[in-house]
């Protein structure tokens, strides 16, 4: 493994550890004194420090060391997990992230954070007398021994596995750590050393007997062996029982053994849940290959269908099965639960709560819903924006909420659910709702609508997604930085999704994001215009109709169609694409919608359903606008995928001017 690889591994691992620490801290806010949480935060900090030091990131190791020390005291019941301490460490999270990613982090920032941390710990020490009892109670409840009031003498006998050096474990620092706990006498146990001829110089044959006098609890001794406990023999006995006896010693199994057993069980569950880290690029490559296989298989199927050879037909059928199974499992590999995404927002809510002075509770639902990994990544920013908006504009300050008869604490509900081939992610708040009058005033001021223009309620709400719209009267740190809801809308549409805002004045607002399960494959409707074939995403298709000769004759250029008393504009793709051919006798209209706008597309023929592997268009064709991608058909030729959002926008805002002719 090269150094680069190692650093990369560390980067990924540290991110996970930091995530774990952050989640633990956030949980601690609600359950202060929970010994299991404290222990998990401590462990993560400890591991982070260790691997940081291993990769030469001394700044990080030093810094984490202080946090670890603070948590060590909490864990041992010497200090309570105060809100101040949790906040201090939470505030230091970003600094640690910067250090872990080897970004430039100002040293004075670190000092400031450490000072805050020390203040929190110091403050905790002062209040330790009464709070200590609480923590001790909690610690006991979790099965860890209570702190020992005075010094105790322990006899520690330990032996390491013979291949322990292979893993880089060194016994000397362990002994040093034991010495650091208190005065001790170390005797080497040499019983197991074989005759010189049989001695393997790389094996560890020594054991140690240590007599230690310490004020630290037994945990501290066990911690010395934290990383080797699975593979060693360890016996810790209290020699001098002049001090308080361990509460659990007379309850049967010695606590050390219990702890070891629990640890081993932990390790086992981790192992059985084995995962493989694969760079996303490789998954994409694999997906490409699978896509090609599906295309090749479709060709094989065509050939087999026109052949009388039964053997060929049966092989073709088998391959069809295998290809579709392969595609399904490939898709599932790319799927990750949205909890990965939702988890990030707990910190955001914590910060928002502090910044706005509003009490905010985040409720998440449907975290197990799965989405394509790339989609999840691209959803993060829009969701941050929506949540900021909900916290900043949506939720009222506590006083206002109480006056309105609501609970002082506002709630933001983040939920995910799957419906068919879509996942709906909702951000819902119980705030004041969208102020229609202000939206209208703002839109009129910005020239988005004419003064006094008659607008339906959904139309009015949708103005929020127009570029250059921001209702915040004062620009705060949270929202109104210029990037508005239009960016959110564009990102979602870029994912071939749609979004919808609903709002009840006084009762809050809700934004629904409808996202296709994956970006790689869509269900398409294959249509023919002149002699070219195009794909329309089925998710956007509302219905297919026939264009009657009467409707056809009524107008050229821009036309309207009446569908159940609603006027729907329609566009002749033949004219838009300037094919220069005569229309078919019976033309069809495919009505597509983006949720708000609806248009009909006139095509020559509807060829049927087609599962489509989406391929991007090149740089040259990215700006053409009418197409969101392309796909390869069964016969190896290319069909373009229509960009529904762009076409409806074109039809809605322009007089559907024909595109420049190709060629």
């Amino acid at each position: 493994m090269s150094e680069e690889d190692g650093i990369e591994v560390f980067r990924v691992e540290s991110q996970e550890l930091l995530e774990q620490i952050e989640q633990g801290l956030l949980d601690l806010e609600h359950k202060p004194g929970d010994a299991v949480l404290v222990a998990s935060v401590f462990r993560a900090l400890h591991t982070l420090k260790g691997s940081g030091a291993m990769f030469g990131m001394d700044d990080l190791a030093d810094f984490v060391h202080h946090c670890e020390t603070a948590f060590d005291r909490v864990r041992k019941g010497q200090a309570p997990a105060t809100a101040a301490l949790v906040t201090a460490v939470l505030n230091a999270m970003d600094f640690m992230r910067a250090l872990a990613e080897q970004r430039k982090a100002p040293a004075e920032e670190g000092e400031r954070l450490l000072a805050a941390l020390h203040a929190a710990v110091g403050g905790a020490a002062a209040g330790a007398v009464e709070a200590g009892a609480v923590a001790a109670g909690a610690a006991q409840a979790a099965g860890t021994p209570a702190p020992v009031a005075g010094a105790a003498r322990y006899r520690i006998r330990f032996g390491l596995a013979s291949d322990v050096f292979v893993n880089g474990t060194r016994p000397l620092p362990m002994l040093d750590e034991l010495r650091a706990l208190g005065p001790c006498r170390v005797t080497a146990v040499t019983d197991n050393i074989p005759p010189l001829g049989a001695l393997d110089p790389t094996a560890c044959y020594l054991g140690w007997d240590v007599e230690l006098r310490t004020e630290q609890p037994r945990d501290a001794i066990e911690d010395v062996f934290m990383f080797v406990r699975d593979d060693m023999t360890l016996k810790i006995d209290v020699i001098d029982d002049a001090v308080v006896a361990e509460p659990q010693t007379d309850a049967g199994a010695p606590p050390a053994a219990k702890a070891v057993a629990a640890e081993a069980a932990d390790a086992k569950t981790v192992r059985s849940d084995a995962t493989v880290r694969v760079p996303a690029v490789r998954l994409d490559e694999l997906m490409d290959r699978v896509g090609e296989l599906v295309i090749a298989q479709a060709r094989l199927k065509q050939i087999a269908a026109s052949s009388a050879d039964l053997n060929l037909r049966s092989v073709a059928e088998e391959i069809e099965h295998l290809a579709s199974e392969l595609r399904d499992s490939m898709m599932s590999v790319r799927m990750v639960p949205v909890v990965q995404l939702f988890g990030r927002f707990r910190r955001l809510i914590h910060d928002l709560s502090a910044e706005t002075g509003k009490e905010i509770a985040l409720v998440t639902e449907g975290e197990t819903t799965e989405l394509d990994k790339t989609v999840i990544e691209r959803l993060a920013d829009p969701l941050v924006h929506l949540i900021r908006n909900a916290a900043d504009h949506g939720l009222e300050p506590p006083a206002e909420r109480l006056a309105a008869g609501k609970a002082a604490r506002g709630t933001i509900i983040l939920s995910a659910r799957q419906t068919g081939a879509e996942v709906v992610i909702s951000v819902c708040d119980d705030g004041r709702g969208v102020n229609r009058a202000r939206v209208r005033a703002k839109a009129e001021e910005n020239g988005l609508i004419a003064v006094g223009a008659p607008l339906s309620d959904p139309e009015l709400l949708n103005l929020i997604f127009q570029p250059g719209f921001s209702t915040a009267a004062t620009i705060t740190n949270l929202s109104g930085r210029g990037v508005g809801m239009d960016v959110v809308k564009r990102t979602i549409e870029g994912l071939r999704g749609a979004l919808e805002l609903t709002s009840q004045p006084g009762d809050g607002s809700k934004v629904d994001l409808r996202i296709p399960l994956t970006l790689a494959i869509i269900d398409g409707l294959l249509v023919r215009v002149a002699n070219a074939r195009y794909v329309i995403p089925v998710s956007a298709v509302e219905e297919c109709l026939e264009l009657t000769p009467a409707q056809d004759l009524r107008s050229t250029g821009r036309s309207f169609l009446t569908i159940r008393d609603a006027l729907v504009p329609f566009v002749r793709l033949r004219e838009l694409f300037r094919t220069g051919t005569k229309p078919d006798l019976y033309q069809k209209i495919v009505v597509i919608s983006t949720g708000t706008d609806r248009i009909g597309l006139v095509v020559d023929q509807i060829l049927g359903d087609y599962q489509t592997v989406i391929k991007p268009l090149s740089t040259f064709h990215a700006q053409v606008g009418s197409f969101s991608g392309a796909t390869i058909l069964g016969d190896g030729s290319v069909a373009l995928i229509l960009d529904v959002a762009a076409l409806t926008a074109q039809a809605a805002h322009h007089d559907s001017a024909p595109l420049r002719a190709a060629g």
Partner: protein
């Protein structure tokens, strides 16, 4: 400590207009009776003309796409850039698939050719810069001219051509 994927950059500009640093292999091909040449190292494959799909609204210079081993590549027509006659495809027509860095992305691009000749070595001493006058072609589209056996071979400046002709407003 960056972990960037290092990709062999295909730099046409390495070979500056002042001349070629040393003899390199070039693929020569015919466009409406004129002989052109490209560094052979850029060429991924030479294909028979296969089904093409027109992209309505695209610049005329890159008005179609094709399926190249499961990837969808744009097809460019250098004849339009040089104002040459665009004739119907014949038995000799080929698509030259090149891998080319354009706008910081490695693209596969298909170039239409009326005929593909051979791979040949062009030495710096046989080249000269494009004449500023007396040519009906845009001089900035030509990197240099090479003379071989009394014949003039045009070395096009692909980066320049793609930048200018790939823009929507340049639609022919």
């Amino acid at each position: 400590m960056s972990t960037q994927v290092t990709r062999e950059p295909t730099k046409l500009r390495d070979v500056s207009a002042s001349g070629l640093l040393e003899g390199k292999d070039f693929l020569t091909f015919d466009l409406s009776g004129e002989t052109f040449a490209l560094e052979a190292i850029l060429v991924r494959e030479v294909l028979d003309r296969s089904p093409e799909t027109n992209v309505p609204g695209a610049p005329g210079f890159v008005d179609a796409v094709a399926n190249f081993r499961g990837r969808i590549i744009p097809l460019a027509d250098l004849r339009l850039a040089f104002g040459l006659a665009v004739t119907e495809a014949t038995q000799d027509s080929r698509i030259i698939v090149i891998e080319f860095n354009f706008e910081d992305e490695a693209n596969l691009i298909g170039l239409r050719a009326d005929k593909v000749f051979e791979v040949t070595t062009i030495t710096p001493d046989s080249t000269e810069p494009a004449p500023r006058l007396g040519t009906r072609w845009r001089p900035d589209f030509i990197r240099c001219l090479a003379k071989r056996a009394g014949e003039v071979i045009v070395l096009p400046d692909l980066a320049r051509i793609f930048t200018v002709c790939g823009q929507p407003e340049h639609a022919a």
